[in-house]
Subunit: 140 residues, 4 copies
């Protein structure tokens, strides 16, 4: 079982589109919010990692849209780490509507690490230890 | 072989993030630009379809990020239809850098149709005929 | 003296641009967050007003950018109502950096009311009473 | 009389909000498109200026929203330089709907120059000469 980090998503009016729901591109931003929240919770504020010269570049994303979210709804995102290697890392996401309990989105993102934002590198030991802590830990 | 619709992407400065490249969430917007361009090219301007009461709701997306895009680069998107059914439709995308010829992103999106933006429906015959035309047509 | 509503702004990584700071267009989104927070705090959740058929359309905006905001910084927005008439309403905004105390942005927005999102209308009595309450009230 | 640079705006579906029109924050992005188009047209591609170490930081913006723009409409932006000094520069914008001829937005933005994105500096002679060319030139 994976450890899940949970945080509220503050839906902005500007996140919606003329279909009256949150635009599909914004889910990638929500995943980023979940991902950075998980990192921070485990001692790795993302902006500090960047200041330290380590970048997490997105390599792959998948997402399934189960039910639309609307402005004014209470939404939470759960984020877990499902794969952790020296050179890459995969996060898993679940976004759900707190009012109805509905699952609205599930997805994954895989990231590579880089120092110069071009070539990939191994994640430094310090971060590897902090972030791999989350694998194989149950939140119950 | 599939028919591919090609159009230029106008990268906005606001599309970039502090990593100095186009933000990962913006690729979903670029795919939407490719998709609506393909539809228009085949006689289905997306805003007219919506005015006609038919919505295309995103059900699934996948994307692979091969190489980052920067503001100031010339970029094109190629979009094709890889699956066409009464109830759903899958598009495929390739974004490439015109200066270097590099492929920067490949992805897919699957859509369901709806009249009320909640329940799904069959795509009306008129649109089905226009959009399914693109299957099995080579651009060579 | 005006009543000021204060709320934290959750800066998203996606809000930044390649200059390494929050993109100028995002400040309008931040103002919207402050504005809807003020409305909610005074008994007018903005999504309920829209469901009730009343829209607040932006007519005018002004903004001064004093100091850039970066991802990772703690930021708050203060919002007040500086003009309240039947047909229009002006909000004032102050965004400040909590770590340094620096004022980063000051601005205003003026809104007209509408039922059909085209023609303007008077704000219904119910909302007028709730929102005009905020004029002439000191928060000290 | 000022020289006006004119370019088409490609409205993205993602630019709209649940009110069914282009979101107010996107107009700042449209102004940026007009501004960078004007600069490019006058021999100053904005990304080259940044690569050269010169940044244009927004100091002030004003905007009036005359009529909403919808997805599917043909829109153009006209941009002019209304003030040009060594340390700052003011642009003026007019966005109009090509189908109806309606003026939808008018605005201004004032920019300071910087080398380190913190302190301001004088605009180097090379750029000053190219950009000040646009003052006092009629497009008729």
């Amino acid at each position: 079982m994976t450890y899940w980090s949970t945080c509220p998503l503050h839906i902005r009016y500007a996140d919606t589109d003329q279909m009256g729901v949150v635009h599909n591109s914004v889910y990638a931003v929500y995943c980023e919010i979940g991902r950075t929240h998980l990192c921070k919770e485990n001692g790795v504020p993302y902006h500090e990692m960047e200041e330290d010269g380590i970048y997490m570049m997105v390599a792959e994303m998948t997402g399934r849209f189960h039910k639309a979210i609307r402005y004014g709804e209470s939404v939470r995102i759960r984020t877990g780490v499902v794969r952790m290697k020296r050179r890459l890392m995969t996060f898993q996401y679940e976004i759900f509507n707190e009012n109805t309990g509905d699952l609205t989105y599930t997805g994954t993102s895989t990231h590579l690490f880089s120092r110069d934002r071009k070539k990939t590198c191994d994640l430094p030991e310090k971060y590897y230890r902090l972030l791999s802590n989350m694998m194989g830990i149950s939140d119950k």
